[in-house]
């Protein structure tokens, strides 16, 4: 690291504290390497100063919120990357197996589509027909989410993955 993370910065400490509390409360795991996390927090704070919102520190933001909304941390790609690769693009968030050291951390490919092929319309994602993703229902609290697979922990009630049922089938075929 060429410019060391500001260890004593009050703003960074508060941001990190809040991030830890929020991730724990919603069943997500931060990277256990706190030096890594602190460096990312510094990047997020830089972007808050620059753009007015915490754009992903590992992606180039445009500075126009409407074009960057998909990469405001936590980004739209976090869940899919956690499921497939065990970490988000920055590795701020990691899956449980990575957090517990059962899976190594690695730089992962960019999931965000290239500029020009990003979704901009505000049409509802799902119509009356088959939705583009399956919808999962937490049998404990009723939380619904549309994604490839249920989350490892319900973000609302913290129930485990096996308490989810497929509520609506979706996706191709």
């Amino acid at each position: 690291m060429n410019d060391g993370p500001a260890q004593g910065s009050k703003g960074a400490d508060l941001f990190l504290e809040d991030l830890l509390a929020r991730s724990q409360a919603s069943g997500y795991h931060l990277n256990p390497d706190m030096g890594f996390v602190r460096a990312l927090v510094q990047g997020l704070l830089t972007n808050v100063e620059r753009y007015g919102y915490p754009a992903c520190p590992c992606r180039l933001a445009s500075g126009r919120r409407e074009d960057d909304s998909d990469i405001i941390c936590p980004c739209d790609y976090r869940d899919a990357d956690l499921a497939e690769h065990g970490s988000c693009f920055c590795a701020l968030y990691v899956s449980r197996d990575v957090a517990e050291g059962h899976r190594p951390l690695a730089s992962i490919p960019e999931r965000r589509p290239a500029e020009g092929s990003r979704r901009h319309d505000s049409e509802p994602v799902a119509g009356i027909g088959r939705p583009p993703l399956p919808v999962w229902r937490c049998r404990v609290c009723g939380y619904l989410c549309a994604r490839e697979a249920p989350p490892e922990t319900c973000p609302i009630c913290k129930a485990a993955e096996d308490r989810f049922e497929c509520f609506l089938s979706g996706g191709p075929g």
């Binding site: 690291m1 060429n2 410019d3 890594f36 460096a39 990312l40 510094q42 990047g43 997020l44 830089t46 972007n47 620059r50 520190p57 590992c58 992606r59 180039l60 933001a61 920055c90 590795a91 690695a106 730089s107 992962i108 490919p109 960019e110 965000r112 589509p113 290239a114 500029e115």
Partner: protein
């Protein structure tokens, strides 16, 4: 276009497109420094508008997704992301 030179061993022409806020980019720079390898880099997020647009266009020729870090080796290939094994292979280390 203004790249910053880091002096070191000659492992070919290395142009690193990075972000000042990105931890994987910092790891890439740290690895090259540890190996004592010379390279040129630009932190694209710190550039002024016109130069930024120009640099992004340049990078897109190598990496259409314009993700970071991207290391262009000898104007021939582009190593995307930081992975020590891939990098060692690309630079014959």
């Amino acid at each position: 276009m203004g790249m910053t030179r880091v002096e070191g061993k000659d492992k070919g022409s290395l142009a690193l497109y990075a972000l000042s806020t990105c931890v994987w980019c910092k790891m890439m720079k740290g690895f090259l420094a540890k190996m004592g390898i010379g390279y040129d880099y630009v932190d694209v997020d710190t550039l002024a508008d016109e130069e930024k647009t120009q640099t992004i266009a340049e990078l897109k020729r190598w990496n259409p997704k314009c993700s970071f870090p991207s290391l262009v080796v000898n104007g021939e290939k582009c190593v995307i992301g930081f992975n020590e094994d891939t990098l060692r292979q690309a630079l014959n280390l």
